[in-house]
């Protein structure tokens, strides 16, 4: 059965930002959803309606507003759980995916020697060379605080993980394997099964950075076989200031807290405290409530369109984009050149034109791209490119957007 095609015209109409003009009247060609996505009106409304009609601190207060705010916030948690096929208590709200990943790293660092997560000198933490700084530095720092050793999977010239040494990278000493589901630079979608099987065989937990996958493809945590998963709301047509940490129930219950304070406690005396059950144990302080509610609206919006249809649409754009870009002289794709197991993130270099200059030139045509090392400096160093230009697609992009990009690059080649 083929999936219903998505109607980009209808989708574009849902996003008010596409009615504005860029740089003296040009149409906005937004190819930077890998950095942050645009927001549909229903998300903007959900967030502002919360402030307009229900605003109160959740889980506190004996009044009607507090009750409504709590319902809205917990309702959003239920939506996230349904979206990921998870249990409600497995969803932790954070302020960002970066915070989600740091939460896991710091909480593991807080585990005492009686705790299953305890980590010490001699233990190993495994990452990959294609990690965003947000899924590299927390582990680098955890290793340096505990004396554990940081190891990593290398990246092949084609932009895939080098898995031939799997058993040497993940060993009996490995306690944590942290990797990205889809590279924010290369677009590579990583094969997880081999890695999760090996990790679990040696008793390690797998932490998945799903920032570039959850917004773009169906993700079912029951079949992924990872232990923790992080993503951010703002890349999934949701608001900024809201991130998700999903963890298996049992593991969240055993994991010590990271931030401590209000809301996350069970009982407190002047000298001691005990913790609430997960997810509250990980949500100290008044949370970003309106943003959580906005994220709920965002995931409902994506769900109504259908994640499989969104994935198919982006696959079509990726095929079209790879073909169109490959026809430009001196343009080199950084990452897999075939659309197999790769998402709609295309990084490239164009001859000697520096990405900053190319990005500036494209901006003058109304085309928004990202330039630089994309917060994955070790990766761009490994690939021998100081910086790249990146075009990333989402549900509101069309082949016309890619045509505009191609025309813009050709014009830049004449200009510089």
């Amino acid at each position: 059965m083929s999936l219903p095609k998505i109607s980009t015209a209808e989708i574009i109409a849902d996003f008010p930002i596409f009615t504005r003009k860029i740089r003296d009247g040009k149409r906005l060609v937004y190819l930077d959803s890998g950095a942050t996505s645009q927001k549909p009106q229903c998300v903007i409304d959900a967030e502002s309606n919360f402030y307009r009609t229900h605003n109160a601190a959740v889980h506190r207060g004996a009044h009607q507003l507090a009750e409504e705010a709590t319902d809205a916030y917990e309702g959003a948690r239920a939506i996230v759980a349904r979206f990921l096929h998870a249990e409600i208590d497995e969803i932790v709200f954070t302020k960002s995916a970066t915070e989600s990943l740091n939460l896991v790293a710091y909480a593991i660092g807080n585990a005492d020697s009686a705790n299953r997560f305890h980590i010490k000198a001699g233990d190993e933490i495994v990452v990959t060379e294609m990690e965003h700084h947000a899924n590299l530095i927390p582990w680098q720092q955890l290793a340096s605080r505990t004396g554990a050793t940081l190891k990593w999977f290398e990246v092949t010239p084609e932009g895939r993980l080098e898995l031939s040494q799997l058993d040497r990278v993940i060993t009996e000493r490995t306690k944590i394997v942290a990797l990205t589901h889809q590279s924010n630079v290369l677009g590579t979608i990583n094969p997880l099964t081999q890695i999760t099987q090996r990790a679990h065989k040696v008793g390690a937990v797998v932490v998945l950075d799903a920032c570039q996958s959850v917004p773009h493809m169906p993700v079912d945590v029951r079949t992924l076989d990872v232990d923790f998963l992080a993503f951010s709301g703002h890349k999934a047509v949701g608001p900024t200031g809201i991130g998700i940490l999903w963890g298996k129930s049992q593991l969240l219950n055993e994991l010590p807290p990271f931030l401590t304070g209000g809301s996350m406690i069970e009982n407190v005396t002047m000298t001691n405290a005990t913790w609430a059950k997960a997810p509250k144990k990980f949500e100290a302080g008044v949370p970003n409530m309106a943003q959580a509610v906005g994220l709920g609206a965002a995931l409902n919006y994506l769900d109504n369109i259908g994640m499989s249809s969104i994935f198919d649409h982006e696959q079509e754009l990726t095929r079209y984009g790879l073909q169109a870009l490959s026809e430009i002289n001196d343009l080199k794709i950084v990452g897999p050149s075939s659309p197999v197991d790769r998402g709609g993130t295309l990084s490239f270099t164009v001859g000697d034109i520096h990405p900053h200059d190319l990005g500036q030139f494209l901006d003058a045509q109304g085309i928004a791209v990202r330039t630089g090392h994309h917060c994955a400096w070790p990766l761009t160093r490994k690939l021998g490119v100081p910086a790249t230009t990146r075009a990333s697609f989402y549900l509101y992009n069309t082949t016309e957007d890619i045509d505009a990009l191609v025309a813009g690059i050709r014009a830049a080649q004449k200009y510089f």
Binding site: D357, A364, G372, H373
Partner: protein
């Protein structure tokens, strides 16, 4: 096209034919500066005779703005006293922070006035300043060494 305000001929000329690029073997101070948001890098060597700049050489990778700016800087400062360079540097900073409201003192800044358009693109100001910050750092180090 508004873009031409940013990419003036002078800038593209310096970018394509950078001045004093290639590191001198001898120097009083060597610095390495990085722009962490975009990955641009520069290494700059400086030699002083008393308080006069006798040699500046550099190598680096980066966009046309950062490369042209350091090329222009070397032309401007070689042979001048650090006191004069400070005046030039202050005038250049003022130009970069002007948001397009001033054209720059051409007598003082020479080719550097071509970078005036950069001040209207906030994200690019740090590109133009990379080489200038490196020079400032190197001159402090070279002076400390001379004492």
């Amino acid at each position: 096209m508004q873009l031409d305000n940013l990419y003036q001929e002078v800038i593209l000329d310096h970018y394509k034919n950078p001045q004093h690029k290639g590191l001198a073997a001898h120097f009083d101070a060597q610095v390495h500066h990085i722009n962490p948001s975009c990955g641009d890098e520069i290494t700059l060597n400086l030699t002083l005779a008393g308080d006069v700049v006798t040699s500046v050489s550099w190598d680096g990778v980066g966009c046309s703005i950062s490369q042209a700016s350091v090329s222009i800087l070397t032309d401007l400062v070689i042979g001048k006293s650090l006191e004069d360079v400070e005046k030039i540097s202050q005038s250049f900073m003022e130009l970069m922070q002007s948001k397009g409201s001033i054209a720059g003192d051409e007598k003082l800044l020479e080719d550097a006035v071509a970078l005036a358009g950069v001040s209207q693109y906030p994200a690019r100001i740090k590109c133009a300043l990379l080489g200038w910050m490196a020079f400032k750092d190197a001159s402090v180090q070279a002076q400390a060494k001379g004492k």
